[in-house]
Symmetry: C2
Subunit: 311 residues, 2 copies
């Protein structure tokens, strides 16, 4: 077994510095446990659900793996406060955060001894979170699926690495060992992937969603919602086309967007609902060629990266 | 001297597989010769000028270097046809193209024995140009400065590498040896950089422009012009803010944009004109820390990349 030069593996007691991103409606105990059992870090999504939901998910994953796992807290969730408390009560090994600054929770999480690894999209956020006691940061470029920032992986990662001394995990556009090796060259000590795990056998998304990922080409994703301040990358569908059209109307409000968008991701995940589903995916969808077990995804990525990095 | 594993070096008889991008108003014989003399590939910009201009630039660079150099043809230029003929007459070693498909020129260029290396922003363009006889392609991600596409370097480069068998040069977000090494991990055999050469001592841009690059942080660039189909990345200034505001008006026309934008890049380059200049720059501006000779930029990048790649 090859050993990556990564503080992340030591810090989290994992074999491979590969995280599976916390994706709403997608990252459930079955997928996350499969990733953790394969030597990566599986991450549950707390979505916009209440504390009871994530507590139940945590209980489930503990029946499926005794390896470390994480919980991703979406900070815009109306239940963020109670979920932030639940991860303390459950003594979750790793907490990742997205869609905002977790500043107000950092002190209590650190007191409780949790390992906090926020997702950041800029140098300033990374610096602030290091000062607040983050154990590492995930620097995510705009090639990622779902909610995205402005900076792209190739430029963001080295700038974040220069700015902080805690480990940096690279995310955005990475779906194979080449991307993982590239991330290490940029100074990262691990990677977080979402899109390639959508095509994992253990992933709960509808078969039609998996097939769309496998069949996607390089230009098949688009970002919508930028104008309202919540840009999201997804596969191009009639849904995203309609959304993009709505954005051309200067009178569109957040409420219009919410009314139109609500349920579109859930429909894609659970029902494989074709034209009006929101199939969140990153630009790396074009690199995903087959549906296979999570363990194979991780093995292939780690082997290819190790070969390229000559370790 | 370390030897990179790159067909580009053999193909072009250059020491380091590092191209200096052809930037309008910027890439003149002095900068390009400095890069070529340092072992990279200097590239002249034909801008939107006529054939007499580029013929004169070619004559000048030949007095400054006997190393290979390139000419970049901006395909939207009204003089593209005559410039395309001029590079044949001048037997320019390398021709790169931007802002479109050079399809109609490929046959005559190939007959004339020129080495054609188009800039591409998608797999489909790369495939078509390989079939038409391109010697290599430059896969440029949207972190680059100036005119940009939709795909980002980390996702674009490996997908282009999978699609073609000619060498791929990576561009977008690369300003040091880490980016260069990352590009090689992704499958590229060379890099093209623009932003870091803006801060070269030999670069003609106004001292104020160089200082803006050196002082820029990660979030200091923005893309404008997307709505009209010609997105351009530049440093954030009152000019780009005003342009972005104009874009919010659904009635804005290409003519309005042209009237507003014309001269803004020239003003930035030649006059260092603060608020209303268009300082084209990539997201890698945040990685550029000092003004130094082009030879030092290339040496540092090549040395750092060689070390990371263990060659």
């Amino acid at each position: 077994m090859r050993k990556f030069n990564s503080r992340i593996c030591d810090l989290l007691s994992i074999t491979y510095p590969i995280f599976q991103g916390g994706m709403a409606w997608v990252s459930d105990p079955v997928l996350a446990a499969a990733v953790s059992n394969a030597g990566g870090l599986g991450i549950l999504s707390a979505m916009s659900a209440d504390a009871a939901f994530i507590t139940s998910e945590i209980a489930k994953i503990r029946t499926l793996t005794d390896k470390p796992f994480g919980v991703n807290i979406m900070l815009m969730s109306p239940f963020a406060d109670q979920v932030a408390q639940a991860v303390i009560e459950e003594q979750v090994p790793v907490v990742t955060t997205g869609a905002g600054m977790p500043g107000k929770y950092m002190e209590s999480w650190n007191k409780a001894g949790l390992t906090i690894i926020p997702v950041v999209a800029s140098v300033a956020f990374a610096r602030r979170l290091e000062r607040m006691g983050a154990a590492a940061v995930i620097a995510e470029g705009a090639e990622a699926g779902g909610h995205v920032g402005d900076l792209n992986t190739m430029a963001l990662v080295p700038q974040v690495c220069d700015a902080v001394s805690i480990p940096v995990i690279a995310a955005g556009g990475i779906a194979d060992g080449r991307g993982m090796a590239a991330a290490f060259m940029l100074g990262a000590e691990g990677v977080q992937c979402g899109t390639c795990f959508l095509a994992a056998e253990e992933c709960r998304v509808h078969q039609a969603y998996k097939e769309k990922i496998v069949n996607a080409g390089d230009t098949d994703t688009i970002v919508t919602g930028k104008k309202l301040g919540h840009p999201v990358r997804a596969l191009k569908t009639p849904f995203t086309r309609k959304f993009a059209q709505m954005e051309n109307n200067p009178d569109m409000t957040q409420e219009d967007a919410d009314n139109f968008g609500t349920g579109a991701l859930r429909r894609a995940v659970l029902e494989g609902d074709g034209p009006m589903g929101c199939y969140m995916a990153g630009q790396s969808a074009g690199l995903v060629k087959k549906i296979q077990p999570a363990s194979a995804i991780i093995q292939e990525m780690a082997e290819q990266a190790a070969q390229l990095l000559q370790i």
